[in-house]
Symmetry: C2
Subunit: 411 residues, 2 copies
């Protein structure tokens, strides 16, 4: 049994998807469950219906596109990723894994192959976590790692709850079936751009992902006192900005890693009230840090509150841990099937460790899982300049199709 994916069709679907939330700079802004993101779901539903594939949603808004197998009781072999992006995101992060999975289903359909197990292309909801925190929310709830009630209550900056947003998606897809949380899966494989420079630098096409970093995330709130910038002597100020940048500098030292494996980032830093002539009375900033070694993750994370308190000066500081995930190892049938496909197709491949978090992180709790990375230009991602070579995207989708076909029969 052989199946060939259609590289041109796969590329055209990327082009079409990039229009939904497309930015003047050539990137994509498609925050989770905004109108643009719902349009992406509807476009996938349209393509699925045309093929006769069924479509279902679960309680947290994950979308399941299913090609039935010959055994109606068998758990499906699934692949997928997410349609949402960062505010200044690119054309490949997330959507590539969805389109590669859908292309695999179509290519197998085109080849007229009947698999024993059903095949599914999955859209995990709110992976980026930049509208509703935390990220990987849909996969976490589906896998039972997070509770549904808690996540539906999360709000975006405008005060809209995740529950209201999911209701909007369901209303837009009245014909979708219902999929219970934690439904059995036989295996899950996710294709994704690397979001780092390693594949490009080493001239490889496929990364066989061996694991994922652990992380902890914090929100730090610094409270001082607002004052008039022209009249308040500096000695008497409680300037939340001055305290917060001292904390930020000290945290850089705290998280300094001479081997440059640890990833420490302050991505949000909101200064209130944010007016030219007002001494800032409040700053809220985020900390994201990641490391493969969970002992390092624990030790350095436990030190955050102390570092912040030591640099608060005349201000008050509160440190809240907002999320965290252990590191993950991928082993067993999925990486083995990837290895087999890569060997058969002759793709240049290496084993690779994931710096980014992905939905597959949570799938390991449900079923054997794994990931396929393809190169992206200069490793740039979470950036409107994100780019990838159509040939590499096609190679990754071919591996996804091979792995799904293999596991649908063999598992």
């Amino acid at each position: 049994m052989d199946v060939r994916i259609d590289a041109e069709r796969l590329w055209q679907r990327h082009v079409e998807m990039a229009r939904l939330g497309g930015t003047p700079k050539g990137g994509v802004c498609r925050l989770a469950l905004t109108d643009e993101d719902i349009k992406a779901h509807l476009l996938l539903e349209k393509w699925a219906r045309k093929r006769g594939f069924s479509v279902a949603l679960d309680d947290i808004g994950n979308m399941f596109i299913r090609r039935d197998g010959t055994d109606p009781d068998a758990a499906p072999v699934a692949s997928g990723s997410h349609t949402d992006t960062q505010p200044t995101g690119g054309r490949f992060d997330g959507i590539y894994g969805v389109l590669a999975a859908f292309e695999a289903l179509e290519a197998i359909d085109d080849a007229g192959i009947r698999t024993r197990r059903p095949l599914e292309a999955i859209v995990w909801n709110n992976e980026e976590g930049s509208r509703f925190h935390p990220g990987c929310m849909g996969s976490a709830v589906h896998a039972g790692v997070s509770t549904l009630e808690e996540m539906l209550a999360k709000t975006d900056r405008a005060g809209v709850t995740m529950g209201e947003a999911v209701k909007g998606l369901k209303a837009a897809m009245p014909d979708a079936g219902y999929r219970p949380l934690q439904s059995p899966l036989a295996a899950f494989v996710e294709a994704h751009i690397e979001q780092g420079p390693l594949l490009e630098n080493t001239g490889n096409t496929i990364g066989i992902v061996t694991g994922m970093q652990g992380n902890r995330r914090f929100e730090v709130e610094v409270v001082g006192e607002e004052g008039h910038s022209g009249t308040t002597p500096l000695a008497g100020r409680k300037d939340a900005f001055k305290a917060a940048i001292r904390m930020a500098r000290a945290l850089e030292d705290h998280f300094h890693d001479p081997e440059d494996v640890l990833r420490f980032t302050i991505g949000r830093f909101d200064v209130h009230p944010g007016a030219l002539t007002v001494v800032p009375g409040r700053v809220v900033f985020s900390i994201d840090f990641r490391h493969p070694d969970m002992e390092v993750v624990k030790r350095l994370g436990d030190g955050v509150a102390g570092v912040c308190a030591a640099h608060a000066g005349p201000c008050e500081v509160e440190v809240r841990e907002t999320s965290g995930s252990p590191s993950v190892e991928f082993s067993g049938p999925v990486p083995e099937a990837i290895e087999a496909s890569v060997g058969r197709r002759g793709y240049a491949a290496i084993q690779i460790y994931s710096g980014a978090g992905h939905d597959s992180r949570h799938m390991v709790h449900l079923c054997p899982s794994g990931m396929v990375f393809v190169p992206c230009e200069k490793g740039i991602s979470h950036n409107e300049a994100e780019n990838a070579d159509p040939k590499d995207l096609a190679a990754g989708a071919q591996v996804i199709a091979d792995v799904m076909l293999d596991l649908a029969e063999r598992l």
Copy 2:
């Protein structure tokens, strides 16, 4: 001729005004020419009409409430301040000077005194400058310090122009007359809360203002490169946030003044895209600094670009000077008339220097000018906790009434 202001009426008008944009914390958010600020103008217009005072607007949206004198050709003696506030402002900054001026007109009206010169209570538009930058915009345009066309083209963060906002005010006040820019004034006196702790600490009720600090303001834009927080090695990042906080720290040192006279503030600091898992690609921050000595203002301001460039690291930086004002001295008939009133009424008073900028800064270009400060609690201002004693507010308004009456005859 004597006139007594009505302390209770003055206080009740503060209470009424504080409802327009009142915040849950007891402050006021009434940004220039928002609905709430326009309501404040309309409330003043209503009070003015009841008294038979006339109302006019000029091209930049300043509002002139006039009680006619016996000589229709005489230039008016005026007093006033502004109705707009900072986003988290208080109940007294600005509005006190407007209500003190209006109270003076009413008290003189109640006393049945006919002055030779007309008396005016003026509302200068957009003093705070936190919706439309720069501040003191209305007084600057009226005095000919800034050009009308340039200021009408300024936009707020939502892209609304000052011109559109002024049009909104004019539409809300169809019965207002027209006042040409740079119309002659005989004198201008402004009452304001001190916004500093000196009067309170020294047990004085009235500050006779001798001058105002000079200032320069800058906008600094730091451009790096967005990247994925989990995959981009720290060595390869162009983190605009990291560069910007190094600049901010270095600027603190650059502006350090062991005598604590210089006022240096970073009040706005916007991090883009501002997402938890994205390395910041752009930061825009403001610099406001002030000093009485214009040589210091010039020298330190000229050094800003160099300090920023020295700490840009792998990022690009652009420093734009957005505004600046020379220091100002008040002398002549207005401070003399204040001195005379204070002596006659027996108020405890001192000469005082203004750390904040006020509309009177620009009035010196049109006519003899001066200011009266009253204490505010703990010197706190540009803060929802801003507070003042009704007795002190009444004393300041009494001085304004005395000065206006005096100058309307004597000048």
